[in-house]
Symmetry: C2
Subunit: 176 residues, 2 copies
């Protein structure tokens, strides 16, 4: 891999924290019809002061505007971002839940950690894959069924095609 690829982690347009301030806003707007700083603070379980600072940064960046009564609203830019992140989260969650059979709580928790890090194209491709894999297409249905019956027999071998090192899956069976 390119030796500085790892730095892309820091180069996301908005941090995990900022994205979640926006997500909280979206959720609270849907719930209550309005959002104030204190609502976000309670929702995210952080201090009002911290929220105040982050929100002002987001205002400066053009994702949020504030009205006379200190109620917050999304700008078009903010709405677009929320839409992207929500879609991506939804798709990733669906994948974890419907394909990998994680519980819906775990699926959401895992999606939440990575949703803002993946590029649009990855989300789109995943979307496309799910659109097919979860469809009623004959091949998809049979594939799902066969996978359910399939149990990866990694326990017997020292190494397999997929993991070059000690078998990851084998190791996992001791732990679980």
């Amino acid at each position: 891999m390119l030796k500085s690829t790892w730095k892309q982690f820091d180069e996301v347009e908005l941090t995990h924290s900022s994205v979640h301030h926006l997500m909280a806003m979206h959720e609270l707007l849907k719930q209550n019809g309005y959002v104030r700083g204190v609502d976000i603070a309670k929702y995210l379980k952080i201090s009002r002061s911290s929220v105040s600072i982050t929100i002002h940064k987001l205002i400066k960046k053009g994702y949020i505007k504030e009205d006379e009564n200190k109620f917050y609203h999304f700008t078009d830019k903010g709405k677009a971002l929320i839409n992207d992140v929500l879609s991506k989260r939804r798709i990733i969650t669906l994948f974890f839940e419907k394909v990998l059979n994680l519980s819906s709580e775990k699926a959401e928790a895992e999606a939440c950690k990575i949703e803002h890090l993946l590029e649009e194209v990855t989300g789109q491709r995943l979307m496309s894959f799910l659109g097919f894999y979860l469809s009623n297409a004959e091949e998809a249905q049979q594939c799902r069924k066969a996978f359910q019956e399939f149990s990866y027999a990694c326990g017997q071998v020292e190494s397999c095609d997929v993991c070059e090192l000690d078998c990851y899956f084998a190791g996992s069976q001791e732990k679980h």
Copy 2:
């Protein structure tokens, strides 16, 4: 979702940065047979001082030990972690590349951003899925073939089952 789920992001045992110091070590050990601070610094393109500090933290946490000549080595704990992360990266990369058809560079870059955030169980499930999906099983082969021929016809509709909001995939087609 549980309202504090998002905080799990910060609660990973090792940060993105720390994990990548260990990954760099692994890579350099494989390449040269030894690692010093300056090697890691050059590899990660950060300052020697920064590496020095991070490495000492990792020594305190028990992932690395230092010999008389300031060469670094993994402890068993470090080896186990590297093994886990590498396996997870490999699986995720494979998924992005072989299932979602991302280029191998993009697949690795995307995997790199999220590999340390996903739980073991997620990696295992993905492993299991790939083990089947990429296998020679009749159903898997047909599914792969059918998916290749499939193009998600999202353009015609306002919304679809998968994305509740504006169609994510439709939006993406304008951009690309």
